[in-house]
């Protein structure tokens, strides 16, 4: 699924319950992260829940795997990956994630006051992209 399909899917929801049930479903379908990576080394700092992010650098893109022990965060990770996964460092740099989250109606998850750590995770993704260049 690409991000445009996702935006379309989100446009059908009438209340937060439906919307976030779908977020949880997306989390359940997230590519599993090997337990061996669930260590301090791959932990994203600044999150209330535990969030792991593991990059795999490929010749022309970066593939991310991740997980969280909180269901909603895991769903948001799935969305973040739909936006960023298997893109080149240049493409990652160009993404306006705030705009996409606003289109999804999920902007409340990216405010600095939300301590779900999604901002830290996105910063980390950008950092990996920067280092890959």
């Amino acid at each position: 699924m690409d991000i445009d399909e996702l935006i379309e899917n989100f446009s059908f929801f009438e209340n937060w319950e439906e919307k976030y049930q779908y977020v949880i479903d997306l989390g359940r379908r997230l590519e599993p992260l090997d337990e061996a990576f669930k260590t301090e080394q791959w932990l994203v700092k600044g999150c209330q829940s535990q969030v792991w992010l593991v990059p795999q650098f490929k010749p022309d893109c970066i593939h991310f795997c991740g997980d969280s022990d909180a269901l909603l965060v895991k769903g948001i990770i799935a969305i973040v990956f739909t936006i960023y996964n298997d893109k080149s460092a240049d493409e990652i740099k160009k993404v306006d994630v705030q705009k996409i989250f606003a289109k999804l109606g999920l902007e409340e998850n990216l405010t600095p006051s939300r301590r779900n750590g999604m901002m830290s995770m996105i910063e980390k993704i950008k950092q990996y992209a920067q280092n890959a260049k």
Binding site: W16, E17, Y20, Q21, I24, Q48, S49, Q50, D69, A70, L71, L72, V73, R115, N116
Partner: protein, 407 residues
């Protein structure tokens, strides 16, 4: 007559709907809402007699200085301290404890000495001691509590010994609600030759404090939890101990005489109040304490006791909910988990339902870990809390439980 619905009218924020619905504010343990009289008092000072306290020799300055010192007197009476000079203004309780650690601690702790704390301490009553122990070579010891959060006298007495120089303990746990028997602990500490510092941040919100009866050497609490403003806290210390302590910070009005070569320092309390004081906040804090006294500490305690029983009973109705901290006579603080739902997920649904709770480690990470968790949700009561707030919490929890159930 304590009519909580009438009292709620004093709190502007509690009467403000959010998205068209009332808010169940259950996070008083983190910070309390403010009654109108506190807001009015602070505004009145700014509008009628604001100046730098203890500085100018004109009417405004004299007026605010008088109010500022009257506020100190109000705090003295609130905790029944012997003397007004035993009341030191700080930024918050954390600074109060840091002050004792940096001055008394540096002066009195040596290698071989011990500082004894409980397993139930907030970081504010743990990290300063850990750090000062590292600097002085003293040892930080921790006495165990029971799995239900209860104080265990034997554990405390076993850890207390002739090397103990200070017992630093909370009067009420911000995570478990456990009330610690400070008076007993103080007797034992003194018998062992140790001083005792009490973290009364949570206790002060719900109980009458009498520092002479407790016979504690130091006691810390903050304004923002006792229905006053942020940015102001109190350190109580026995005058004979405070008088022997060196200053904490330097500058401003904490001096007696200054030459380019040398400074002599003021007597207490000024010695510990370097720089411009948060005078308006101090006056606001005193107004909050007066408000509590006006309602009656006994009445507040009675109301919260009833509501604590009600909350416990209702929480136990929620399937797969576990209350963390069930010590007898605990105060109105409820940490809990529901099923295997992450507290952050839980709080998300609660927020959508206009129920305000805190999640995380509650600035007591070792304690939350010791209870077997990394994160907990916590609902806490204030004098304005109602059964309706608790009902809203329970309904939101039931909804969350259903929401996250795998289907």
């Amino acid at each position: 007559m304590f009519d909580v619905y009438q009292i709620r009218k004093d709190f502007p924020l509690l009467n403000r709907p959010l998205n068209g619905r009332p808010v169940a504010f259950l996070d008083t343990a983190a910070s309390a809402q403010k009654p109108q009289c506190v807001l009015d008092k602070m505004m009145q000072i700014y509008q009628t007699c604001y100046a730098n306290a203890h500085r100018g020799s004109y009417w405004f300055a004299e007026q605010i200085t008088e109010e500022f010192e009257a506020a100190r007197q109000t705090v003295r009476a609130f905790i029944n301290a012997r003397e007004t000079r035993e009341i030191i203004w700080t930024r918050n309780a954390t600074e109060s404890i840091n002050l004792v650690a940096a001055t008394w601690g540096m002066q009195n702790l040596r290698a071989g000495d011990e500082v004894l704390i409980s397993e139930a301490e907030h970081h504010a009553n743990l990290v300063p001691w850990q750090q000062i122990c590292a600097k002085t070579g003293a040892t930080l010891r921790v006495f165990a509590i029971a799995d239900d959060g209860s104080y265990i006298e034997d554990e405390f007495l076993r850890a207390l010994n002739s090397s103990t120089k200070l017992v630093a303990v909370t009067a009420m746990s911000n995570v478990l609600g456990t009330i610690f028997p400070i008076k007993e602990i103080a007797v034992a500490a003194h018998r062992a030759g140790a001083k005792i510092l009490v973290d009364a941040c949570q206790f002060a919100v719900h109980h009458k404090i009498d520092v002479q009866d407790m016979d504690c050497d130091f006691l810390a609490f903050s304004g923002h939890k006792t229905y006053g403003p942020t940015g102001i806290g109190v350190l109580y210390g026995k005058a004979e101990i405070l008088s022997t302590m060196p200053p904490y910070q330097f500058g401003g009005d904490m001096i007696e005489h200054v030459t380019y070569q040398h400074t002599t320092f003021a007597e207490i309390p000024a010695r510990f109040e370097a720089g411009t004081s948060a005078s308006v906040q101090a006056i606001g804090m005193a107004e909050g304490l007066k408000y509590m006294q006006h309602l009656g500490l006994e009445n507040i305690m009675q109301h919260e006791r009833e509501l604590t029983a009600y909350t416990t009973a209702r929480l136990n109705e929620v399937p797969n909910l576990k209350i963390i901290g069930t010590a007898p006579n605990k105060g109105g603080v409820f940490s809990f988990i529901v099923n295997s739902i992450h507290p952050q997920d839980l709080a998300f649904v609660l927020n959508k339902e206009n129920v305000a709770v805190r999640t995380g480690h509650h600035c007591a990470e070792p304690l939350v870990n010791r209870m077997g968790y990394t994160s907990l949700a916590r609902a806490s009561l204030g004098l304005y809390s109602t059964k309706e707030d608790i009902d809203a919490l329970i309904n939101a929890l039931l909804k969350a439980e259903k929401f996250f159930r795998e289907n």
